[in-house]
């Protein structure tokens, strides 16, 4: 029983690792957005809404990872 609980905790921790690549991707997107604003500052509001949308979609993977971690912790513990 103790072993099963520990495995559930390890699984939840692994599920949250999806945030790693999401962080990389979002950082890259933000860097590109900064470059774009530097190149033509008058398109700032358009670039901002695109950045938010892209970052939000990229974040979805991390959110699903967190959802799986929550399900693991609260349902199988």
């Amino acid at each position: 029983m103790e072993l099963a609980r520990g495995l559930v905790a390890i699984g939840a921790g692994l599920a949250v690792l999806t945030g790693m690549m999401t962080g990389l991707g979002q950082g890259y997107a933000a860097a590109k957005a900064v470059e774009a604003v530097g190149r033509n500052p008058e398109a700032e509001s358009k670039i901002r809404s695109m950045l938010i949308l892209g970052a939000a979609i990229a974040e979805t993977a991390a959110i699903y990872g967190m959802l799986i971690a929550f399900v693991l912790i609260f349902l199988f513990n």
Binding site: S45, K46, S49, I52, L53, A56, E59, T60, I63, Y64, M66, L67
Partner: protein
């Protein structure tokens, strides 16, 4: 009524009521200021803030959804932004943040979801909407279905997860500082380490994350609704 269901009182209900009362008071105050104001005069005080806020929100709505649709949805975005900002910041005042409860964020995301579907049906027609599930081939039904439902899940869990993780981290942090403080013999009964280190973390987890999530929620709402509108053919 479902047999065996129990009604549990959730503390977030209280903070929702308090936040609603604050928003109602604000709106009444602005309403009185508007009625008393001279239209030829420069707006001052609370009226100036209200004018700036309304202009900001309608600007955001018009940027993302176009002039005609943006005007219709700007009031909803405005009140949503106010509510979310107050709800996310309420952790600072010792109230449990309503957005740390999944029911609240699911309800808010459901409103957005229904608005997206309504806008979609309005722009491509009911049969076009049904047909959009089976494009480009009937086999894609499952993918299209999950594509339509995904915003509901991801928006609700994004808000819930960000606020909840902040709350959990703050609880863990206070437990840790309490443990550290208890190592000091006499004054250790009170947690004197927490108040020294906590403000920075409170600033990040409550103020920064809360306001960023508020902005993301309203701009995602407007962008999703605007996307449905901008492809009528």
């Amino acid at each position: 009524m479902i047999v065996g269901a129990t009604i549990t009182f959730q503390v977030e209900v209280l903070s929702i009521l308090i936040i609603s009362a604050i928003i109602l008071g604000l709106i009444l105050a602005v309403n009185r200021a508007v009625k008393k104001a001279d239209p030829l005069d420069q707006p001052k005080g609370i009226l100036l803030l209200a004018v700036i806020y309304v202009r900001m929100m309608s600007g955001l709505a018009k940027d993302n959804m176009g002039n005609i649709v943006g005007r219709n949805y700007a009031p909803y975005l405005g009140i949503l932004a106010l509510y979310l900002a107050l709800a996310n910041l309420s952790g600072l005042f010792g109230m449990p943040a309503p957005t740390a409860n999944f029911s609240v964020t699911l309800t808010l995301a459901l409103i957005t979801f229904i608005m997206i579907q309504r806008m979609s049906i309005k722009s491509i027609g009911f049969f076009g909407y049904i047909r959009s599930f089976f494009e480009p081939h009937p086999l894609f039904f499952l993918m299209n279905f999950f594509g339509k439902v995904a915003p509901l899940i991801s928006m609700s869990i994004r808000l819930f997860g960000n606020i909840t993780s902040g709350t959990i981290i703050m609880v863990l942090f206070y437990a840790f500082t309490g443990w550290v403080a208890a190592l000091v013999p006499i004054i250790g009964v009170i947690d004197f380490v927490g108040p020294i280190v906590a403000p920075v973390l409170h600033f990040y987890f409550d103020v920064f994350v809360g306001l960023i999530q508020m902005y993301i929620f309203i701009s995602l709402t407007s962008v999703f609704i605007g996307n449905e509108y901008s492809q009528p053919e």
